[in-house]
């Protein structure tokens, strides 16, 4: 479809990032088709556009972002997007080639963290929770190394693009890596991670839309399909721990 917009009762436009969102959506596509709903999937490799498009009504809903990120976005852009349903968590971990345990990390070690706001905040949160640093605002989801107020080990931060992190792992003492990238790069989160988010992580990925979408029957169908046991099984099978269902 061209601009997809809300209108056709039998088509739902959904913006998503490729992994795992688009893959999960593709998995449920045949199910929805049987119910008479056609998914028009728009794959993005960027975290801003999907929200802009949804808030401007050119796309019905998106499925790519975490709650904290959405909040930050709404605040900054003055949009009123709402989380409609939490689907999964992509736990975030700390990896190293040089050190076996977090305790071995020496003073002055270099820690690579992602360079986009959502993930850099998330990386610092994980470090804070394990006591390595303290943050100016312990609740901030978008902290940057500038917000680190306590740093007993005098860690040095390098901000690197998330997908590059596994590739430069050998050059730093520790890298904070999204699980999907870790898995794709051949790291095993369960075995290799020095730190990893637990099930209480606030970083659940939501289906997001405008207030109007809340009662849209098409969206309801989508959410129902996403929160099905089939999807749960699919996630477990396909992502082997890198993605954890949140329903």
């Amino acid at each position: 479809g061209k601009s997809g917009g809300a209108g056709d009762p039998n088509v739902l436009t959904v913006a998503a990032t490729a992994v795992p969102h688009a893959e999960i959506l593709e998995f449920i596509e045949p199910t929805l088709a049987k119910e008479g709903l056609k998914l028009d999937l728009k794959v993005f490799n960027d975290y801003v556009q999907p929200n802009v498009q949804v808030s401007e009504g050119r796309i019905d809903v998106n499925y790519f972002e975490t709650g904290p990120y959405l909040e930050e976005f709404n605040k900054a852009k003055g949009t009123h997007l709402v989380p409609l349903a939490g689907i999964h968590i992509e736990p975030f971990g700390a990896y190293s080639r040089k050190w076996k345990k977090i305790g071995e990390l020496p003073a002055g070690a270099t820690v690579a963290i992602p360079n986009e706001p959502s993930n850099s905040g998330r990386a610092l949160q994980l470090l804070a929770r394990s006591g390595l640093v303290t943050l100016k605002d312990p609740k901030s989801m978008t902290a940057t190394p500038k917000d680190v107020v306590g740093n007993p080990k005098n860690l040095k931060f390098r901000e690197i693009e998330a997908a590059t992190l596994p590739r430069v792992l050998g050059e730093v003492d520790m890298a904070m890596i999204n699980t999907n990238y870790a898995l794709d790069a051949g790291l095993n989160p369960l075995r290799d991670a020095l730190l990893i988010e637990d099930k209480d992580s606030p970083y659940v990925n939501f289906v997001v839309g405008t207030e109007k979408a809340r009662n849209d029957p098409r969206v309801k169908k989508l959410i129902a399909a996403l929160r099905s046991p089939e999807v749960k099984a699919f996630i477990a099978r396909k992502y082997a721990g890198a993605v954890v269902p949140a329903f």
């Binding site: 061209k2 997809g4 993005f44 490799n45 960027d46 556009q49 990238y181 794709d184």
Partner: protein, 221 residues
């Protein structure tokens, strides 16, 4: 889907090829349509040229430089409202074309300006001495004489556009470069990366060979 190319979804690759070609084709045509007049104007308003005009030239140059100084991703965003007005969407292949054109046209314009500056001054003078209007001068002398240089500039621009299309994935435009980034880079699927890179190389190679051949064909000197 086993063996070495197990990650490669060939229908995705085919779609990406198509997307790249559509984006390249669409944006190249428009880049030329926009950049050529802009380059001519930059040249004509420059010092010692028929429409010499410090202010006009300065403003044009500033605009061109402004666009060229914006990182492509920022240009993409800044342009969204304009893109929607122009093509009805800021998404997908259609939505990628306006920012691609805006990014590439000033670049092409600079190359055109350089090519026009190389035209033999004696030739230009002789045509002016015929009582040519600036329009005649441009269309009957400058452009034909600079044609090999302009074709070379088109080749460089086309190939640069291909590398821009890789970034157009940000608005969901797809294409080979985006496939390479999403699977090859973000998903560590070396096979997909290899396939896309080979296809991109083939496309670049094709453009370059065709461009070189045209340059040679138009070189009469």
């Amino acid at each position: 889907m086993n063996g070495f190319f197990r990650n490669v979804d060939w229908s995705d690759v085919a779609q990406a090829c198509l997307d790249t070609i559509v984006m390249l084709g669409g944006s190249l045509v428009l880049t030329i349509a926009l950049g050529l007049p802009l380059g001519i104007l930059l040249f004509l308003t420059g010092p010692g040229q028929p429409w010499q005009n410090r202010w006009g030239n300065g403003v044009l140059a500033l605009l061109v430089n402004l666009v060229r100084s914006l990182p492509f991703i920022i240009l993409l965003i800044v342009m969204i409202p304009l893109t929607i007005v122009l093509v009805g969407t800021s998404l997908g292949v259609a939505g990628a074309i306006p920012p691609l054109v805006v990014a590439a046209a000033p670049f092409f314009a600079r190359l055109v300006e350089t090519a026009l500056r190389e035209v033999d001054r004696n030739t230009v003078e002789a045509v002016q001495a015929m009582g040519a209007t600036t329009r005649d001068l441009v269309f009957r002398a400058l452009l034909p004489e600079a044609l090999p240089g302009i074709v070379a500039a088109m080749t460089v621009t086309a190939i640069t556009l291909i590398s821009f299309t890789a970034m157009a994935g940000a608005v969901g435009a797809g294409g080979l470069g985006d496939l390479a980034i999403r699977f090859g880079y973000q998903r560590f699927q070396t096979d997909v990366m290899l396939v896309t890179v080979v296809l991109l190389l083939a496309l670049v190679q094709l453009l370059q060979v065709a461009g070189d051949r045209l340059v040679r064909h138009f070189t009469r000197k």
